[in-house]
Amino acid sequence: MLTDKELVKECQRNNQKAQRQLYEKYKGRLIGLCLRYTKDRESAEDIFHEAFIKIYREIGNLRKVESLYSWLRSVTISTAINHYHKNRKHQDCLGIIDFEESNNDYDRIFSDLNAKELLALVQALPDGYRVVFNLYVIDGYKHKEIAEMLDISENTSKTQLLMAKRQLKKILEGMNITRYEKIN
């Protein structure tokens, strides 16, 4: 098993085995990332595919390989944002969120939700809200950086985040999770 450094070196030499190994090693995390930025699996797979194409084409320019995943993640996020820009005209409407209400989990609290449930919450957000929410809350970008990436103002980024959280809370209420509590 090659280390990240060796993987990059071999990929830069167009070694197909190394490319395959890189793919196998990171495919799970990157598809997870893509799923967060899209509303459905089909779009996520498109981004995933496009991101890997970009990764293999640009890996030759990668010099510092200490944090390979960090680089892979940034390429994938940039691909997701490109995808968002391309499709924003068609998708950027703030429609009514359909989310199946849960009748049985009234007693559940927010912090008990698992990753897939949280992913479903995020995917239910409108595109603009979802992208800002992902970038800020999960991927750790600042509003200034998000504004630059999405070509919006900082205030818009902040507003989008606020609205995203409101939407999430609304969805949670729809799931009968009305209190976001944890045990001390």
Partner: protein, 472 residues
């Protein structure tokens, strides 16, 4: 139990989703290898296409330059020969004119300067004859006229009159015009007043045209409508700032900043502002430059390298080849050979040339090669990116051909342009970018020789549009 804070709310999502993994598409790898293989051959094909295009472009340019170079060489000797300026008004000639000495103050034989002559004139010397001899050959309107009117100045800007045997020989001209001249010799031949020594011009050997030599270089360039193919090596990237959260090291921005090569084709039209030189005494009555004539259309080919210094700021350096035609019509006053009015004012003898109105026009094609240095600053936009683009070009005229008229006097060898543009780039697909660029340009140097009666400054307002082709 307590209510979660906003930070805790965020943390729940972050903890559970930041490392979220799922199953990749089953045929993911197969699809990737398929596209990567196809992409390689496509990429290679693209490179061949672009390289072929560039080669063709260079060949076309070389052929074009060769053609004009040859054309110019055929006409190149015209610099020292006759003029082909159209003169609509025939000029009459008087080869010798005598002035009755009794009507003027007399001048001695040994006077060397005008000041001395005039001083002596004031004290009433006699038996002196002011005459104008025509002994040399010059041309006017392609007619040989034997005459010489030598006219010179000394370094003190005073008119020197050659006096022999009591006669002032071959002098004349516009005394007031000569007032500000220094360190240069001027002569008048065939009634034409030569005001400065140009690169290929023998003083006093021009064609009886008073104004045209100083209509020099009424050219310029203005991107008015540009289209064509731009090629850039390397792909454009969406640049992401790195997250600042712990555990993720931000990548250095410079990793994505790679040099790019570009070629550009642009068609343009020019508006030239031509006005009399206020610093000079001139006889130009009227200029008609037909500014928006189709004859002024031209094109520019450029290529070079772009060096991004940050996500927003890029400088570029290159060469640009410029071809344009220019058409200038003008009306001016010409001096009638050997015809002078002698005016005595304040005990000073002043010889004033007799002037007639003339018309002329020049059409010519010009090729020039220049250095281009510029910078573009990205304002905003990801899909439709907007830039402020500023560049300067230093051009040197390679050659020209005179389609009509005495074009050689309309050329200046060096030209400096400043261009500013609001540039928009829009991704058509992965390889093609559409570029739209309203631009404003002007000549940094007011093209005006010290002795020129005209001041010329090109102003360019245009629209540049084109295609950028990225090599992957």
């Amino acid at each position: 139990m307590k209510k979660l804070t906003e930070e805790e709310f965020n943390q729940v999502f972050k903890d559970k989703l930041s490392h979220f993994e799922d199953e990749a598409p089953a045929s993911g790898w197969d699809n990737l290898t398929e596209e990567l293989t196809a992409g390689e051959s496509k990429s290679a094909l693209n490179k061949y296409v672009v390289r072929g295009s560039l080669l063709l472009l260079l060949l076309a340019g070389a052929t074009y330059l060769g053609y004009f170079y040859g054309f110019t060489n055929r006409e190149g000797t015209a610099a020292d020969n006759e003029s082909i300026v159209t003169l609509d008004t025939q000029v009459g000639y008087t080869h010798q004119q005598s002035v009755d000495p009794e009507q003027d103050d007399c001048l001695p034989n040994d006077c060397a300067t005008e000041e001395q002559v005039l001083n002596l004139a004031r004290i009433g010397q006699e038996d002196k004859n002011i005459s104008l001899a025509a002994t040399e050959k010059s041309t006017l309107d392609q007619k040989d006229v034997h005459q010489t009117n030598s006219f010179s100045e000394n370094q003190n800007d005073q008119t020197r009159l050659n006096v022999e045997d009591g006669a002032i020989t071959g002098n004349g001209g516009d005394a007031s015009y000569l007032k500000n001249r220094s360190n240069e010799t001027k002569e008048i031949n065939g009634g034409r007043i030569e005001k400065f020594e140009d690169q290929n011009h023998k003083l006093g050997n021009q064609e009886g045209v008073f104004a045209p030599p100083w209509l020099a270089a009424m050219d310029g360039k203005a991107p008015l409508a540009s289209s064509g193919l731009l090629a850039e090596v390397d792909m454009r990237k969406v640049e992401l700032p790195q997250p600042t959260q712990p555990g993720i090291k931000p990548e250095k921005e410079k990793k994505d900043l790679q040099a790019q090569f570009f070629t550009d084709f642009m068609a343009f039209a020019t508006y030239n502002r031509v006005k009399p030189n206020q610093e000079d005494d001139i006889f130009i009555r009227e200029l008609n430059t037909n500014t928006f004539s189709g004859q002024r259309l031209g094109y520019k080919l450029s290529g070079g390298i772009e060096l991004p210094h940050s996500k927003r700021f890029t400088t570029y350096y290159g060469l640009s080849f410029l071809h344009y035609t220019q058409f200038v019509q003008y009306a001016y006053y010409d001096a009638v050979p050997d015809s002078f009015n002698i005016v005595v004012e304040d005990n000073q003898v002043i010889l004033e040339p007799v002037l007639t109105e003339q018309f002329g026009e020049v059409r010519q094609g010009i090729n020039s090669l220049g250095l281009q240095i510029g910078a573009k600053y990205r304002l905003y936009g990801s899909k439709l990116r907007r830039f402020i683009d500023v560049n300067t070009e230093l051009h040197r005229v390679l050659n020209y051909n005179n389609i009509e008229g005495n074009g050689q006097d309309f050329i200046t060898n060096n030209q400096v342009f400043i261009n500013a543009a609001y540039r928009m780039e829009y991704d058509l697909n992965r390889n093609l970018i559409f570029k739209l660029q309203p631009s404003l340009g002007f000549s940094l140097l007011e093209r005006q020789a010290d002795t020129s009666p005209l001041s010329v400054r090109p102003f360019n307002l245009g629209l540049d549009f084109g295609i950028i082709f990225k090599i992957r």
